[in-house]
């Protein structure tokens, strides 16, 4: 019966998220039509709002990966984080990278991970399958690393030179097939090798079963 309760909770939660998104978009659509750069309050524009929302999604997803006790929730958190990263790419006017992120990461890698989760855990054990170790030391190290990176991010006087936001798909295609042709072909070779290698590694053991 626990699962039933959970199902209901999930449905309600999803509905709430969809509803919130709908209401928000309805509220914001006139502002969007007026131009995202117009300040909403003070110097805070709509673009800023969306950026912070996307960034929050990314970070929250990552936090779910890191802290969730249930590996399935970790996987869902990863989904959110990857989606958020794709949103960041859109913000950085890297449209093709964003689409590739969605296709490859969410369509490919994440599904793979979910499969691996399903294949390696009996669902009944899901809750204890994601136990942790060395929590404190890892937290110290990661906090130090985070602090360092944040200091670097905010204190270094980056010589910023904003570049244009034209669509990148066509230029990327040209670049990949001209300037980066060799790495491109090598990448395809690596993917082929990966494909074969993954099949061989995984198949042998299954057959042995």
């Amino acid at each position: 019966m626990r699962t039933k309760t959970k199902l209901v909770a999930w449905t309600l939660g999803s509905a709430a998220v969809v509803g919130a998104v709908g209401v928000l978009s309805a509220l914001l659509s006139p502002a969007m039509a007026a131009g995202a750069t117009r300040p909403l309050a003070g110097t805070f524009t709509l673009a800023d709002g969306i950026f912070y929302a996307v960034a929050a999604l990314t970070v929250a997803g990552a936090a779910a990966v890191a802290f969730s006790r249930n590996i399935l929730y970790s996987a869902l958190g990863l989904l959110a984080s990857l989606l958020g990263a794709a949103g960041l790419y859109v913000f950085l006017s890297a449209d093709f990278v964003a689409v590739a992120q969605v296709f490859i990461y969410i369509g490919g890698v994440l599904v793979l991970i979910l499969f691996a989760v399903m294949l390696t855990n009996r669902i009944g054990e899901v809750n204890i399958s994601n136990s942790t170790m060395g929590w404190a030391s890892a937290a110290i190290l990661c906090a130090a690393m985070l602090g360092l990176l944040l200091v670097v991010a905010f204190d270094v006087p980056w010589p910023v030179r904003v570049t244009g936001g034209a669509p990148t798909t066509a230029p990327l295609g040209h670049a990949l097939l001209q300037q980066w042709l060799l790495p491109f072909e090598l990448a395809s070779l690596i993917l082929l090798a990966t494909l074969i290698g993954a099949i061989i590694i995984a198949r042998k053991e299954i057959r042995a079963d």
């Binding site: 170790m133 060395g134 404190a136 030391s137 190290l141 690393m145 360092l148 060799l182």
Partner: protein, 821 residues
Amino acid sequence: MNHATQHLGPTVVHAAGYLWLIPLFPAVGAIINSLLGTRIQRNLGKRWNHAIAIGMMTLSFLTALRAFAQMVALPGDERFLQNTLWNMLTAGQMQFDLAFALDPLSMMMVLIITFIGTLIHVFSVGYMADEPSYWRFFAYLNLFVFAMLLLVMGDNFAVMFFGWEGVGLASYLLISFWYTDIEKAQAGMKAFVVNRFGDFGFILGLFLLFWSLGGIWEPRADARSVTYVPEIGYKADPAAQNPFESTGPRAVVVDGHAVKVGPTLNFRELRDQVVIEATGVGEHLRHQKLWGVALLTLVGMLMFVGAMGKSAQLPLYVWLPDAMAGPTPVSALIHAATMVTAGVYMVARLSYIYAMSPTAMGWVATIGVLTAFFAATIGFFQYDIKKVLAYSTVSQLGIMFIGVGVGAYWAGTYHLLTHAFFKATLFLGSGSVILGCHHEQDMRKMGGLKKLMPVTAWTYLVATWAIAGFPWASGFFSKDEILWKAFTQRGMELFGVPAPWLGPAIFVIGILAATGTSFYMFRSYYMTFTGHYRGGAGHDEEHGEDPHSAHAAPHHAPAAAHAPAAAHGHDDHAAHGHAAPAAAHGVHAAPAHATHAAPAHDDHGHHGGPPHESPRSITWVLATLAFGAVAVSFLGIPLLWTGHAPILEHWLAPALPAEVTFLHFGHATEWLFQGMGVAAATIGWFFAMKLFKDGQSRVPHDLKHRFFGFWTVVYNKYYVDEAYHALVIRPSLFLAAFLSWFDQHVIDWLVNFAGWLARVFAAIDDAIDKYVVDGAVNGVGGLTREGGRVLRRIETGRIQTYLYGAAFGSLLVVLLNFLFR
């Protein structure tokens, strides 16, 4: 001699879009033979394996000839062909392309490599005919040639270094070609490890040079500074008064030519900015110091450490004699003609760097002459024909380094060329002898082969003339030029102390080494080819192992003393051997012969019987190389004889822009010194003939017994290997054992202690908990447990542990960087 002119301009580049083909062909051959070789050998026969390899080598040689033709047609100072394929990496000011370049120096090297390489491939057809994994040998050989071509043709240090490591790999693969023999596999490993030491020095020097080219300095007043814009080229930078403050690539305009300055990996850019005085780079480099030592001196010495490893100089020469475990064609190609000369090539290539530092020059020349003398003395008493040649190679490499050390860059390079020919002839001759004597390498079991193997004997003799330094054989011209230049060089320094006596001292030791060279080379000739055949019948030694390792030597000594005495009864032995071919060898060779093309090879399918002349593919190669060993002497006939600068010096001049001053002496002095060279060769030859001709004289035997202690020391190569074993290998093994012990006892104890501590803390925690119910105490207890857990995890071998190390280490590095800003 005519020195490089005072005002050098930037290199004029001529594009040659086909240069990449030269290394490509051997690479293709290596790929085909390594991927499909076993099938080709099984289905089509061995002849296709070697046809592919030799065909690729020939194509490569022809392409090199084409480049040579193009280069000859250019005016003398414009001989620079360049071919950029694509950009590999750009990071800040460092940029390197996959690019090839040929200047007269590398052109000479390419011609040597492809020509002698092709001949040695042909030789290998006969030599390796019995080899089951024939394809593997040719794949490795082609791989070696590919890497060697990259080494000499690279337009920048990156490509050169790739080749530098590639030849090391190929050398390793070929030395331990018969890897089932543990000694040979170990010889390969030894070569690889010793070379690593050298390469470490080389790459340190490289980084140091790159680093030293940065910084801020003022170009000379008549030069104008500009910045470099990739799309446009060079343009004046109006914004910055001193463009050296900008981060991008920079350039200086000298006489209307833009010269790129700053850190670079490109040889041409390096040469241009250093050689052209107006850029101020030369001054800048000369005045930099690191820990009080002139930076150029450090660069030169460190890079020479790389050369020590690759070119087998003291004290890193130990791998080369062991490398004789490889098949003889490999010894000829890699360990005599090409790879081991890479160090000489590198020093000559960077002549302008070395010429700026007298200490670096003195260092190179001193190490060179010590090696030359030291190796020559070891060569006196070796009985293994290949070991004699190996020590002779070490010695000759030392002579080359004298040349490039004292600043006679062209002479050192010329000795490289002549040595490539005569040493390849000698090695292949020894290979032919070894093949003829059924994989016997001990000279005490040879003798009298002149009648049985006339072509081999004559070519060996010609090459011996050349190496001993008799006039009109090539070694004379190169060696005497080097020693003469050493005598007239008075500007060298030893570790910063001016040492005008160093040049003459080098000359004296060098002439002694030359005498020794002549002696032991004629000794090997007389022991091998004159007198009676002392060998028995078929042997059961596989592929001629070194019969006397250092430890076994005293046991062999009585047998050696016995050999000349027993020379009379040898006819019986020969007949016996003829009648009873060793059956085991016949069996393993039989399938190979079923598919083999040349019927001339059939006669060494069985191992046994009297020595015989080698098949025609071998004798032709020997004859060609011996002819070459004489013919290249025309390239270096000295000024003294003809009134013109030697052809090769004239040819190499644009590639060796270093300015080195020598003292001037009269013609009479120079004639006198040439006479001394001939006298040295004659003395060595005379004694060798007296002592070893026909194997009749008992003097060597008596002398050996008189000075048996001394003989033992030299025969065992001064116990250098043992010293290495005691000083390097033993301590490292001991260190490993100690660490293992430390791990087992101390770390485990620490871990146990930590666990115990955790338990104690937990107990205390528990106790305190009873009285002070406080969350903070819980935290302390948890932290201790965590600490114990972390300590215990040090030796888990789990990825997370390593990640801790990596993350913590990177944090530490960055934080230290902040601290010491």
